[in-house]
């Protein structure tokens, strides 16, 4: 490979990084926050309420807080590792350096699937919102949702294609609006500033625990939905100006924002909507915050929460495209996937081939599969990823003890968060088993098959020593 040819227009050694084209370092901590919270906040606007259906309102609150603990562990562990392994690909690159190539391949696929499925779910929801608005504004025939679903995916992919700074600045604005909408709804309806509509005691009467304690376990399945995706902040590592500081800060600020948003959401929705209606996300309350606003009787609130719902789905889909393409790109760059995907756009400095390739994949799922299946596929991929994290941090601390390399952030109480996380993951596996056991087994069957494919075929194209890129000493015990 020739690096420089002074007669060539594109390889004359005068480019931004010599002749090399890499991702652009332009983001600050606020963008990291927007990426993390933006992906997740849609979970407050729709989806979390399936947990109410699984076990009642109290079960959903318990699940909300236990899932909160799970994700706090995730955020702490992730912050420590990623402040050290700062690279596009996030957990994939962590796994490659700490556990091994096959684990990394699996983790990379978890990421791509969790985000692409979530993106599809968001597009479906956005399409549904357009049809609701059409009906409310007096459109008689049923709206064809497909062009709107496709438009959401196409527009956001185009935005991502054109550059990361505009993409995540857009995310910052719409995420902030969606978050403020939740705060406003809480202030307006909870009675904190007078005139509340909350009737928790009356609504819970006789329906405290409709399924008993097994319902609480089952609710953990959708309890994840309050926070799913916060770990995606690490994908921005190669585009953040100062990863060792901005990533832990953005991630931990993000999980705090979400804990507040999730609790407020539970409070206002369960105080206004009966649990059977709230818990049925298909025939009952598709968008619970929006329904709560409807009951408040204020047109301004209805509009605000309607816009909030739309913005939350857009922000989430946008962040998902960003994260899935970074993971796909990073795997291509290492030849874990065909090397063709490891290309960076010379002008926009984005992984453009990965972005374009994932568009039709997202469309297949958005147009061809039912919403709860898509959500379950996304949750399962996420869950497999969270199960990997405790293994990851335990090995990380063992192979490189605290003083052997510099860490941007060290999480406290190790190994307590790792053990807590592993336990909560086991509980959640059981919860998924209660509702979607077949999918769980089908999905793991899929990962076993691709793992064998990778180990016996694909791995031959990968450079052995060169894929270990961190300037670390040799791991202990090798």
């Amino acid at each position: 490979m020739t690096d420089v040819d002074i007669t060539s227009k594109t390889m004359d050694g005068m480019g931004p990084h010599g002749t090399k084209v890499g991702l652009l370092r332009v983001l600050g901590p606020a963008h990291v926050w927007a990426l993390g919270v933006g992906i997740v906040l849609v979970g407050e606007y729709m989806g979390w309420n399936f947990a109410v259906g699984k076990g009642g309102a109290y079960a959903a609150l318990i699940a909300c807080w236990f899932a909160g603990i799970l994700y706090t562990c995730v955020a702490m562990i992730d912050s420590e590792v990623t402040s050290t392994v700062a690279s596009a690909g996030g957990q994939y690159t962590q796994a490659k350096h700490i556990v091994g190539p096959l684990m990394a391949f699996n983790v990379g696929l978890y990421l791509v699937f969790a985000y692409t499925m979530l993106e599809a779910a968001n597009a479906i929801t956005a399409g549904y919102l357009f049809s609701v608005v059409a009906t409310m504004s007096g459109h008689e025939a049923a709206l064809d949702q497909r062009p709107f679903i496709i438009l959401v995916i196409m527009f956001l992919a185009w935005l991502n294609y054109r550059g990361v700074l505009a993409t995540l600045t857009f995310n910052l604005v719409i995420t902030a609006i969606a978050f403020v909408a939740i705060l406003v709804l809480f202030l307006a309806t909870s009675g904190v500033v007078g005139g509340g509509i909350m009737e928790h005691a009356a609504l819970f009467e006789g329906h405290e625990m409709p399924y008993g304690w097994i319902g609480v376990l089952a609710a953990m399945h959708f309890g994840l939905w309050y926070y799913l995706g916060i770990e995606g902040t690490t994908q921005a590592a190669e585009e953040v100006r100062s990863p060792a500081r901005a990533l832990p800060f953005g991630t931990l600020a993000g999980i705090m924002t979400l804990l507040i948003a999730a609790t407020l959401t539970w409070y206002v929705c369960s105080g206004a909507l009966p649990w059977e209606f709230l818990g049925d996300g298909v025939n009952g309350s598709v968008a619970p915050l929006f329904d709560t606003a409807r009951l408040s009787g204020s047109n301004a609130l209805i509009w605000l929460l309607g816009i909030g719902t739309l913005f939350a789905t857009l922000a989430s889909a946008n962040g998902c495209i960003n994260d899935a393409s970074r993971a796909w790109f990073a795997m291509g760059r290492d030849k874990y996937l065909p090397g063709w995907f490891g290309a960076v756009h010379p002008k926009y400095r984005t992984p453009y081939r990965a972005i374009v390739f994932l568009v039709p994949i997202a469309l297949i799922f958005a147009l061809g599969a039912p919403l709860d299946q898509v959500i379950t596929f996304s949750i399962l991929s996420g869950l497999l990823g969270y199960t990997f994290m405790p293994l990851n941090i335990i090995m990380f601390r063992k192979k490189w003890p605290l003083n052997s390399i510099k860490r941007g952030y060290e999480h406290p109480f190790h190994p307590l968060p790792a053990i807590t996380l592993l336990t909560l993951c086991a509980v959640t596996f059981f919860a998924v088993f209660l509702g979607y056991g077949t999918q769980l087994v089908a999905m793991i069957g899929f990962y076993i098959v691709v793992s064998l494919w990778f180990h016996f075929w694909r791995y031959r194209f990968v450079n052995r020593g060169a894929q270990f890129t961190m300037p670390w000493p040799k791991p202990q015990g090798y």
Binding site: V99, G100, P101, L102, A104, N106, F113, E199, A202, L203, E205, H207, Y211, G215, A218, L273, P274, E276, F277, D280, N283, D291, R294, L295, K335, P338, G339, W340, I361, I364, F365, A369, D372, V374, F377, F433, L434, G435, Y436, G437, L440, V441, A442, I444, G445, F446, I448, V449, V450, S451, H455, Y459, R460, N463, R464, G465, Q467, F468, K474, Y478
Partner: protein, 126 residues
């Protein structure tokens, strides 16, 4: 350990790899759907004839909310009474646990083999 030089992959072979992955992915999602094994549907165990809010177990305060949302007892009947079935067999539970453990054992095992190779090429055998 000797330095390993990976072969350069041709365009056609890259394309085949992508197709294989896409087919497997789409298959994993759609095969359970086609086989009708997907999902946990709710069902109404004991329907109520001529439902009233009391017969559906709703207090006046709860009934008022349903009416504000635009329901009457008949249209809210299925929504209120449908329940999940959480019964399961221990055989199925053990199968799931076995599959998950097998999966993690498999990847950790293979990863370790590959990882030792990476470390010895990167840092040399000492």
């Amino acid at each position: 350990m000797a330095h390993y030089d990976p072969p350069k992959q041709g365009k056609a072979s890259q394309l085949i790899d992508v197709v294989v992955l896409v087919v497997l992915t789409v298959g994993a999602l759609f095969v359970p759907l086609w086989l009708g094994m997907a999902g946990a549907a709710k069902s109404v165990a004991t329907p109520v004839e001529n439902p009233t809010w009391e017969a559906l177990g709703q207090t006046p305060a709860q009934a008022a909310k349903y009416e504000a949302l635009g329901y009457d007892p008949a249209s809210a009947h299925d929504l209120i009474l449908a329940r999940f079935d959480y019964s399961f067999s221990f055989g199925a539970l053990l199968t799931m646990i076995a599959v998950i453990l097998l999966y993690y054992f498999l990847i950790l095992r293979f990863s370790e083999v590959e990882y030792r190779e990476v470390i010895s090429e990167k840092f040399g055998d000492k």
